[in-house]
């Protein structure tokens, strides 16, 4: 009994001491916690700020330089003018190269979107090991050295007795661009409740009807985001184009590369400006119609 009371009293004293302790020391502890949180946020925030400048800076520098009125690429530019953009209107070779790149990118995107969507439908809803392997295999062009693939493709078509040509170039581009469509479409399919497909089927819709009326509206944005990425990747491709473009056809990135390597011409800055503006416009459209940033972050 007595020992019980003692124990109780003891507990009460302990509680009071604890209360005193927490009453006496809340400020430093809270401050320490606050400092800790703020230092973490500060370090990460500062690194992010540096990275943002580092990421955006070159694009802005390039854009501003392209409006220079002089013949030098010095930054900041002396005077502003559109003279180098006007000069682009006479740059026949550059225009021809841009046109070839656009045509190749168009066909690459179309074929990648169709094959990639079909592949994604087969892979995303399958639980077999086979589908896992297929997923890794179809994504591998993104990871394996692109230049080794470009050269392998050249050796291969030579062995078959073909010569580099635009249709073969498109096929090479599809191999390296289809992973983008596959990735975004599989991600989009993963968000869809499979019960919807069953419901559609049990209501008597055939597979084509289910695809057009149920699946496509649900994953359309995913396919569009992937197609956008595939288009940009194809338009920008160097390692495959270097080996598979025929001698008469010059692709834009390779043409620009040679320009930069031989004579640093301000016209190159102007076409760079055009490409940057077009990229930003396309990105905004992709954001508007395909929710690009959300598709990329999942």
């Amino acid at each position: 009994m007595a020992s019980g009371r003692h124990a109780l009293a003891g507990a009460r004293v302990d509680a009071r001491r604890a209360g005193e302790r927490s009453g006496a020391a809340p400020m430093p502890a809270a401050q320490r916690a606050g400092l800790d949180t703020r230092s973490l946020q500060g370090v990460f925030g500062a690194l992010t700020a540096i990275a943002v400048v580092f990421l955006v800076g070159p694009t802005i520098v390039m854009l501003l330089t392209s409006f220079t009125s002089t013949e030098s690429l010095r930054f900041p530019p002396q005077g502003f003018s559109l003279r180098w953009y006007k000069a682009l209107l006479d740059a026949d070779q550059m225009q021809a190269a841009a046109w070839s790149s656009l045509i190749v990118a168009f066909w690459t995107t179309l074929i990648s979107a169709v094959l990639g969507t079909l592949g994604a439908l087969a892979i995303a809803r399958s639980e077999s090991r086979f589908a896992r392997v297929a997923d890794v295999v179809f994504m591998s062009p993104l990871i394996l050295p692109a230049l080794a693939y470009g050269f392998a493709a050249l050796v291969y078509i030579h062995l078959l007795g073909f010569h580099p040509s635009i249709p073969l170039l498109v096929l090479g581009h599809v191999v390296v661009c289809v992973p983008f469509v596959l990735r975004t479409t599989i991600a989009a399919l993963a968000q869809v409740d499979p019960a919807l497909f069953d419901a559609s089927a049990s209501l008597g819709a055939g597979r084509v009807m289910t695809f057009r009326r149920v699946t496509l509206p649900l994953i359309g944005r995913g396919i569009a985001a992937g197609a956008f990425l595939a288009f940009m990747a194809s338009f920008d491709n160097v390692p495959v184009s270097l080996f598979l473009a025929d001698e008469r056809t010059e692709m834009l990135p390779i043409h620009l590369w040679q320009q930069i390597d031989t004579n640093l011409d301000v016209r190159t800055a102007a076409i760079s400006g055009v490409i940057i503006i077009a990229t930003i416009v396309l990105m905004v459209l992709a954001e508007r119609f395909a929710g690009l940033s959300r598709q990329l972050a999942r």
Partner: protein, 280 residues
């Protein structure tokens, strides 16, 4: 289960494309590398003996892997904070950050490299600024140096690190971090012991993507690195097109591809181990 059986033929066109246009070229590449001549008359391992017998080739392989490792670490240093900040930001700002991160990789490779030439050159902004601030008297060589190549690679490949990380970070249950701080762990401790281990899958995916992209970034390596810094892609190109030595170029390509695969495999293994650790 029935559905699975119904749908696998949809992958057939893509599978056919890969067999004909992806595997077959690599098989031919390996065959070419095992020949003494471009006409593929005599089988031999002479190309590999030549590659591994010459310190010059091994040096290029080592410097390429090392370059990609360094660029990956820079991407990690800046990419993790970006993903961390973006994962906590309101949806609108998250989109803006993703935009900023993705812009360089979507802008044509030659254009973005060109921008860096304007910045890093002897009379570029960076050197002008450094001289203006009297930090240096003579222009510092930045172009045609490994440091320059790493900086440009990090800028361009940043999204490959940030996007997988952002995807994993947003999927982590915020209650876990709350529980950690309720149990008395500070912000740094919570980050190191809870958030970081849980984000390991995104971290590994990011490292794999950035590493392979940096190792094979032909245009950036060549334009920023110049002719004196030779990495594997330029080595392949010079042997294939310049020297017209297809069997040797094929052998370099095979070695390079295998080297990249080995690193990816190691990263994957590391990822699986850390995942096991994070999930107890």
């Amino acid at each position: 289960m029935k559905r699975t059986h119904d749908e696998w033929p949809l992958a057939l066109p893509l599978a056919a494309l890969f067999v004909v246009c992806f595997f077959a070229p690599f098989v031919v590449l390996v065959a070419m590398s095992l020949h003494a001549d471009a006409q593929m008359q005599t089988w031999s391992i002479a190309q590999y003996v030549k590659f591994f017998g010459d310190a010059f080739n091994l040096g290029i392989l080592a410097s390429t892997v090392w370059l990609a490792v360094k660029a990956t670490l820079v991407c990690l240093l800046f990419g993790y904070p970006i993903a961390w900040v973006a994962s906590r930001a309101p949806a609108r700002w998250q989109s803006v950050l993703v935009f900023i991160v993705v812009l360089p990789i979507l802008t044509s490779v030659v254009v973005r490299t060109f921008a860096w030439i304007v910045i890093l050159g002897r009379e570029g902004i960076l050197n002008d600024t450094l001289r203006l601030l009297r930090i240096v008297d003579q222009p510092v060589p930045l172009l045609f140096t490994e440091t320059g190549v790493i900086a440009v690679l990090a800028q361009v490949q940043m999204p490959l690190m940030v996007l997988p990380l952002l995807a994993t970070l947003t999927r982590i249950d915020p209650n876990l971090a709350d529980a950690s701080s309720a149990l008395g762990a500070g912000a740094w401790r919570t980050f190191l012991r809870v958030t970081l281990p849980l984000s390991a899958p995104g971290l590994v995916a990011g490292c794999i993507l950035v590493f392979s992209a940096c190792a094979t970034a032909f245009v950036t390596q060549t334009l920023i690195g110049g002719a004196r810094l030779i990495y594997m892609p330029l080595h392949i190109y010079q042997q294939a097109v310049g020297a017209n030595n297809w069997p040797f170029a094929a052998a370099i390509s095979v070695v390079f591809t295998l080297a990249v695969m080995v690193v990816i495999y190691a990263l994957n293994r590391a990822g699986r181990t850390s995942k096991a650790y994070a999930h107890g």
